[in-house]
């Protein structure tokens, strides 16, 4: 996806982003308070609430909520789960201001030592 040329800052973006930030606040509170009660039940990575938070952060309220509803519906006892990242968005952030959820949802996965193990075993 084509990226923005600069981060979305300034008064106009602040106003446009109010609904988005309200939903972000709600999701953060939900993840702090409700998620721990619920425990680790999500079949996907990132978990549905983490997906929702990133989706709204990256895509804004309308697309973000749409993506999140679609994800929650897919996360049912009859699906296999797995890794399912939020699609890329246009938004970019100032240096060092990438939202924490973006970092947490995209951890670098270290290479397996399987190959080395197999070599040692053989």
């Amino acid at each position: 996806m084509k990226k923005d040329s600069k981060p979305r800052t300034g008064l106009i973006w602040f106003l446009i982003d109010i609904p988005r930030n309200l939903i972000i606040g709600f999701l953060m509170v939900y993840r702090k308070i409700v998620s721990p009660i619920y425990g680790d039940v999500c079949r996907y990575f990132p978990s549905c609430s983490a997906y929702g938070l990133e989706a709204v952060t990256v895509h804004g309220v309308i697309k973000g909520i749409g993506l999140t509803i679609w994800r929650v519906l897919r996360c049912n006892p009859f699906s296999h789960g797995g890794i399912d990242y939020v699609p890329d968005g246009r938004r970019i952030w100032p240096e060092g201001k990438t939202p924490k959820i973006m970092v947490m949802n995209h951890p670098p996965i270290p290479a397996d030592e399987d190959a080395a193990d197999a070599a040692r075993g053989a």
Partner: protein, 321 residues
């Protein structure tokens, strides 16, 4: 916003009220007093039984997935070894990601997803609005959903132990002439549902989690929640009509029983519950949980080594079990 929420709930409200009406009708037909609070309470309890029974296939699927987990154990252990000592958040996230990928690869997933809970929520809210509106609807001579005005009047006036099903702890307290019965019944129910919720959680944490999970990053939060959650429910409970408390207590007791069954018969591999199960199985002469095949192979190896005739029939006995 309230109207939008109401609109969303209305189909659920209709379903819930219809089921309540149907059970109430059924119990009346078999001779229970239609205006008794016990008949209404029983209808609510059967509504719970119906919803939870409908969710049994989901629950069975989960148990099957938990059994299939045995096959994943070597891979899971490898994963744990890979992330051993890496306690920082990013590594933990990477581990969860890899674990989910592993479940997908093996087409089995022991995690319940949130759908089972999500499905129950609109029913709970719908029941809440049905029971909560009963007093007002009764005064206006209205029906609610599938329940006719007569039903609503009967429900509104009905009581158990002298406590009206449509009354709440707070309402009676603020009414000027508080009903001791409502207060006592509400408090007993709040205690019962808080206790069952607490025991369910505690049971999982003390018995059905692996050592790794118990040391994991979410544990501290979970421990705090274990004590906060009953408090939240207790406070919420004083706002709920007795009828809703009946629903909630019944559903919590079902969860407790279901949990007890799972922990006893299908414990998480590597948990305290699994160790206890294996002790019980050993006492009955059974191999450890989930290791039937391995053990039979081992038993066969032992049997074949001495090559005596006396051992042979013993093995046949074993196979029959």
């Amino acid at each position: 916003m309230t109207n939008f929420f109401d609109l969303l709930l209305s189909p659920f409200r209709y379903v819930v009220s219809w089921i309540l009406m149907a059970f109430h009708e059924l119990f009346t037909r078999i001779g229970l007093d239609p205006n008794s609070g016990w008949t209404w309470a029983l209808s609510i309890i059967f509504l719970v039984l119906l919803i939870r029974t409908a969710l049994i296939p989901v629950f069975v699927k989960q148990i099957k997935a938990q059994r299939a987990m045995q096959a994943l154990q070597p891979d899971l252990r490898k994963l744990q070894a890979k992330y051993k000592g890496k306690k920082d958040q990013l590594s933990q996230q990477a581990m969860i990601a890899e674990q989910r990928q592993l479940f997908k690869k093996h087409k089995t997933n022991p995690l319940s997803s949130c759908l089972p809970m999500l499905v129950q929520m609109p029913f709970f809210f719908a029941l809440f609005t049905v029971l909560n509106n009963a007093s007002k609807a009764s005064a206006n001579n209205d029906g609610v959903g599938a329940l006719s005005a007569d039903h609503i009047r009967s429900f509104d006036a009905s009581s158990i132990f002298g406590a009206r099903l449509s009354d709440t702890f707070l309402n009676t307290l603020n009414s000027g002439s508080p009903s001791a019965a409502v207060i006592i019944v509400a408090v007993v129910m709040i205690l019962a549902m808080t206790a069952s919720q607490f025991i369910t959680q505690k049971q999982i944490m003390s018995k059905n989690m692996t050592k790794e999970a118990l040391e994991g990053p979410f544990m501290q939060q979970q421990k705090i929640m274990l004590y906060i959650l009953p408090l939240v429910f207790g406070i919420g409970g004083i706002n709920f009509p007795i009828g809703v408390l009946i629903y909630w207590t019944a559903t919590n007791l079902w969860t407790l029983g279901q949990q007890f069954y799972v922990i006893r018969n299908n414990p998480t591999p590597g948990s305290e519950a699994e160790r206890e199960l294996n002790v019980r199985r050993a006492a009955k002469g059974l191999p450890p949980f989930g290791q039937k095949k391995v053990d039979e192979a081992a038993a066969e190896a032992v049997v074949e080594a001495p090559k005596t005739q006396r051992v042979q029939p013993q093995r046949k006995n074993r196979k029959k079990k």
